[in-house]
C-alpha cells in the first residue's frame, strides 16, 4: 500500500493532536481524546458535535492497523458503534471503515463475533413484485427480506468519508442470501446499498494480524452460511440411492425367495395340558442353504386359546430350537357392535436353520374344555421378511433426517431474530414491523 497523505492537525476542542490518515478524502474526523466530531473539510477543523462520552468502546481492530483482505491491502481508519431497538431490547454492532488509496473504502461489521466484509453496491437491487416477504434480485442473486429497523449511531472514532455524528438515525433494510447480505440505509437525502459477505472471525484476525484468538460467534447470524443445508442435501441424495437399492433388493428377494414347503400336518387335542399330550413328528429334511423357517400354526379356536410348546430338533446333532406360540381368538358384540380379538393363525420364524434332517416335538395345551381343538402346523423355509427392510430403511433414513432437523433448527434460529420468524404468518409479521419501527 502506498503511504497515505497523512496530515497532522490539532483538535480545536481539546488541543490534542489529530491525524488525518486519508488526507483530503475524509469528511468527518473524531478526536481520539475528547471525541469531538470535527469537519475534516474545514482547514480549521470546525466542531460539528461536542459531547461528553459516557461509554467508550475500544475497536478490536485498532485504527491505523493495516490488513490484507484477499490480496487487497486496507487500513482501518474509522470505527462506529450502532444499534437498533427491537421489542424493547437494544442490539449493538460495530462497524469499521477501511481505506485503500486505490481501492477506496470498504467496511467490516461485527455482531456477537459474526463478521461481514462489506462493499458499497454500485447499483440498487431489483424488487421482485408480489413477493411476501419482500424479495429483491441483485446480480442474479435473490435476497429475502430479513429486517427493517432504525439504526442509531452510538459511538464514533477515527475518520469517515461522510458526515456522521453520534445520534444519527437511518432506516436500515437487510436482505439475506447466505453468505451474502444486502443492506440499504435510507435517510431523507439518499439511499445507500451495500453488499456484505459473511467472513470467519479467524479470517479477519489473520487479515489484520490481530493478537490472540477472535471471540467465538454467538448464535446464528442473519447471513451466516448454513453448513447443515449442503450436508443435508448431499445426504439426501445418497439416501435416495440407498432407498432405490433397498427397493431393488426387496423386489429381487420377493422374486427369488424359495418359500419352500418342508412340513405340513394336521392334528387334534382335547386334554387341557399334560406331558402325555406331547408328541414328535416324522423326520423331514430341510435342504439348501441356512435360512429361516416359517412356522404357521392354525387352530379352530373360538373364544378360546391353545398354546403350543414347539421344539425343532435336528435328528443328527440333537440340537433343539425351542419356542412357544399361542393361538387365541375371541369375538362377540356389545353396545358398540361386533368385536373380535386375536386370530386363529399364528406365524413365527425360526432363525438361521442349517440344512439337515429335523423333526418337531409339539406339546399342545389349552383351557379345560370338552371340545376338541383341531390345528395344523406348516413349515416353509427361506421366507422373505419385511421387518428387515423396514429396519434398514429406518437406519438409512435416520442420519439424513437428523441432518434435515439440524438444518431446520439452524434456519429457525436465523429467522427468529428477523421480521419473518418461521411459522408466523405475514399479517403477524406486519404487526411486528410496526412495533419495530415505532
Amino acid at each position: 500500500m502506498t503511504a497515505p497523505d497523512v496530515k497532522a492537525l490539532t483538535c480545536p476542542a481539546c488541543g490534542a493532536a489529530i491525524t488525518l490518515r486519508t488526507g483530503a478524502q475524509a469528511l468527518t474526523v473524531v478526536c481520539d481524546s475528547c471525541h469531538a466530531v470535527l469537519d475534516a473539510k474545514d482547514s480549521n477543523l470546525s466542531i460539528l458535535q461536542k459531547f461528553g462520552v459516557k461509554l467508550h468502546w475500544t475497536p478490536a481492530i485498532p485504527l491505523g492497523t493495516k490488513g490484507d483482505l484477499k490480496g487487497e491491502k486496507f487500513m482501518a481508519i474509522g470505527f462506529q458503534v450502532r444499534s437498533i431497538t427491537a421489542d424493547g431490547e437494544k442490539y449493538s454492532w460495530r462497524e469499521y471503515t477501511l481505506w485503500n488509496p486505490y481501492q477506496g473504502y470498504r467496511y467490516l461489521s461485527e455482531y456477537d463475533g459474526h463478521w461481514n466484509d462489506i462493499v458499497v453496491a454500485k447499483s440498487p437491487p431489483t424488487p421482485v413484485p408480489g413477493s411476501d416477504p419482500p424479495v429483491v434480485e441483485f446480480h442474479g442473486e435473490v435476497f429475502k427480506h430479513f429486517q427493517t429497523a432504525e439504526a442509531t449511531t452510538d459511538f464514533i472514532l477515527g475518520e469517515f468519508p461522510w458526515q456522521v455524528k453520534v445520534g444519527d438515525k437511518v432506516q436500515t433494510n437487510d436482505y439475506v442470501s447466505p453468505p451474502h447480505m444486502l443492506s440499504s440505509e435510507v435517510t431523507k437525502e439518499e439511499t445507500t446499498w451495500s453488499i456484505g459477505t459473511y467472513s470467519s472471525p479467524q479470517f479477519i484476525w489473520n487479515a489484520f494480524s490481530l493478537p490472540g484468538e477472535p471471540p467465538s460467534p454467538q448464535g446464528v447470524f442473519e447471513n451466516q452460511p448454513d453448513d447443515y443445508g449442503p450436508r443435508a442435501s448431499a445426504l439426501a441424495k445418497v439416501f435416495a440411492l440407498f432407498a432405490a437399492l433397498l427397493i431393488v433388493f426387496f423386489i429381487a428377494r420377493q422374486v427369488t425367495a424359495l418359500r419352500a414347503p418342508i412340513f405340513h400336518q394336521s392334528y387334534a387335542f382335547k386334554s387341557p395340558t399334560s406331558d402325555t399330550s406331547a408328541f414328535v413328528t416324522p423326520v423331514f429334511p430341510i435342504t439348501g442353504h441356512t435360512s429361516n423357517v416359517e412356522v404357521t400354526i392354525s387352530a379352530n379356536v373360538a373364544n378360546s386359546w391353545a398354546y403350543f410348546n414347539v421344539s425343532l430338533i435336528n435328528d443328527q446333532t440333537g440340537k433343539a430350537i425351542d419356542f412357544g406360540r399361542e393361538v387365541g381368538y375371541y369375538y362377540g358384540s356389545d353396545s358398540d357392535g361386533p368385536w373380535s380379538e386375536g386370530s386363529t393363525e399364528d406365524v413365527s420364524y425360526v432363525p438361521a436353520v442349517p440344512p439337515g434332517n429335523y423333526f418337531l416335538r409339539v406339546q399342545p395345551e389349552g383351557p379345560v374344555s370338552f371340545s376338541t381343538t383341531n390345528y395344523s402346523i406348516a413349515l416353509r423355509r427361506d421366507v422373505p421378511r419385511l421387518a428387515w427392510f423396514l429396519i434398514a430403511f429406518v437406519l438409512l433414513a435416520a442420519v439424513p433426517m437428523f441432518m434435515q432437523f439440524r438444518e431446520m433448527m439452524f434456519e429457525s434460529m436465523r429467522w427468529k431474530e428477523s421480521d419473518h420468524p418461521m411459522g408466523k404468518t405475514s399479517s403477524g409479521t406486519d404487526d411486528g414491523d410496526s412495533s419495530d419501527d415505532s
Binding site: 440407498f242 440333537g318 423333526f359 434398514a392
Partner: protein, 62 residues
C-alpha cells in the same frame, strides 16, 4: 460426513442381505444342545427351556 454415511449405508445393506439370506429373525427362541434320541420314544420327558411364551402365561424351564 457423506462418505461416512455412504459407508454406513453399505454396511446396513450388507447386514440386511445377510439377515435375509441367512434367515436371521427378531423372534426369540432358545436353543438346547444334545437332545437325546430317546425324545422320539418319550416326547413328554423333554423339558425345553422356554424364553418366548406368547402371552407370558408359560414361563418355565427344566
Amino acid at each position: 460426513m457423506t462418505r461416512k454415511y455412504a459407508v454406513f449405508g453399505v454396511v446396513v445393506l450388507l447386514l440386511l442381505a445377510a439377515a435375509e439370506l441367512r434367515g436371521w429373525s427378531l423372534d426369540s427362541t432358545s436353543e438346547t444342545l444334545n437332545v437325546p434320541h430317546t425324545v422320539r420314544d418319550n416326547p413328554g420327558s423333554y423339558r425345553p427351556a422356554y424364553l418366548y411364551t406368547g402371552s407370558g402365561r408359560y414361563l418355565r424351564g427344566k
